[in-house]
């Protein structure tokens, strides 16, 4: 049985992610204690909010350094995924840098509705155990105003004005820009896959 720890970094979706894991039969702990996080088999960084305060909160507990050193599977959700990248344009924030790339605001062009809010299709870019059972064109639920361009570590992309990274993975660090906890069966499957890593 996976021993999952949700890092409590102030995101309001932490309860929803916890309930989604419970639906999969996993009772996750919530913690900001470095020793507890280090001992977990799987670590999830949920996140709703802004990059600056999110990173500030991790740094205040020394969790920024800790997360970089983790060797077990780590999953960043929404803002949590954005924090895995090197830098976010949101508040000009230096992030964790465990996945190379830059998070930027959606193009402020006429007609593009931001936040990107709703169900959008996943376009599979690369085979990976994280995407097992997920089909090209499956839907996930997104709510965000910032995103990373598809880079070498993208497993699935989506499109809003331009393509952006929807699922990334570099070594043990995984990220989902959408909310798997709110993406019906597809989201449940992705969480299940993460727990099987």
């Amino acid at each position: 049985m996976a021993d999952v720890v949700l890092i409590d970094a102030g995101g309001t979706n932490i309860g929803s992610v916890r309930y989604a894991l419970q639906r999969l039969g996993v009772d996750a702990a919530m913690s900001d204690d470095p020793a507890r996080i280090r001992a977990a088999s799987h670590v999830i960084l949920p996140g709703v909010g802004a990059a600056g305060p999110g990173m500030a909160r991790l740094r205040a507990n020394g969790l920024d350094r800790l997360i970089r050193e983790l060797e077990q599977p780590v999953l960043g959700v929404c803002l949590g995924m954005q924090l895995l990248f090197a830098h976010s344009e949101e508040g000009d924030t230096a992030c964790l840098g465990v996945v190379p790339g830059e998070v930027r605001h959606f193009p402020r062009e006429t007609g593009l509705r931001v936040p990107h809010m709703g169900w959008n299709r996943l376009c599979i870019e690369r085979d990976d155990p994280l995407l097992r059972g997920v089909n090209d064109g499956d839907f996930a639920y997104f709510v965000h105003s910032y995103a990373a361009a598809p880079g070498p570590h993208v497993l699935a992309s989506s499109e809003h004005g331009a393509p952006f990274a929807a699922v990334v993975r570099k070594d043990n660090f995984c990220g989902m820009q959408f909310h798997p906890e709110r993406s019906a069966n597809v989201g449940a499957r992705l969480l299940e896959n993460f727990l099987s890593l």
Partner: protein
Amino acid sequence: MLTRRIIPCLDVREGKVVKGVRFRDHVVMGGIVELALRYRDAGADELVFYDITASPEGRRVDRDWVERVARVLDIPFCVAGGIRSVEDAREVLYAGADKVSVNSPALERPTLIDELSQAFGVQCVVVGIDSLRDEDGRWRVRQYSGDPDRTRALARDTLDWVREAQQRGAGEIVLNCMGSDGVRDGYDLEQLASVREICTVPLVASGGAGAVRHFVDVFREAGVDAALAASVFHAGDIAIPDLKRQLAEHGVPVRETRSAD
């Protein structure tokens, strides 16, 4: 491509889903969790729970049912009614709601929108607007529309309020067109298209759905991002899988769900 959303709205009173003509003659339709899952299974993209007891009586939304819904529901949901402060919103969001919707309290104190978006991010903040066309032809905002005895016409121009709400940090606007609400004669396409022009955040149409073609029209002609409806879904007049199939046939991008889901 981002799909257009179908959002059933459930009125909640004292922990039960009710239907009725606004504040009168309510009939209990069933348990919240049971109905939420039924709509989820039918392919609803999102749900709105409107606590009709909360706002007019100044009561707070009861947190218990929000958490019960969040435990079982795997699609997003928004809670409306009775949210007057950051603390009210925090309680509902931490219980598992994805968004909160504010209406009359934001008109009383517009800085509430700033406070909510700064505390939780714009993606959590929905501003609901009740709007009606006055005799001079302009659309103006109504307050306390949930209670016919307290509804007030404001001098505030609807388009001005839509602009201001976005500047203050609304991440989504729900425009309830009161002239068409409850009449089932179609959404107010003219008003929605006018608001759509000045709206850079997602716009949700509310009020007037009575037939499938009303949904086709509101997406194609008013360009809204989502359509909210209550009675047509609750009465079983429109089944969501059939609605989505017909929308797709008319070229409206929707999330079609497999029946096995």
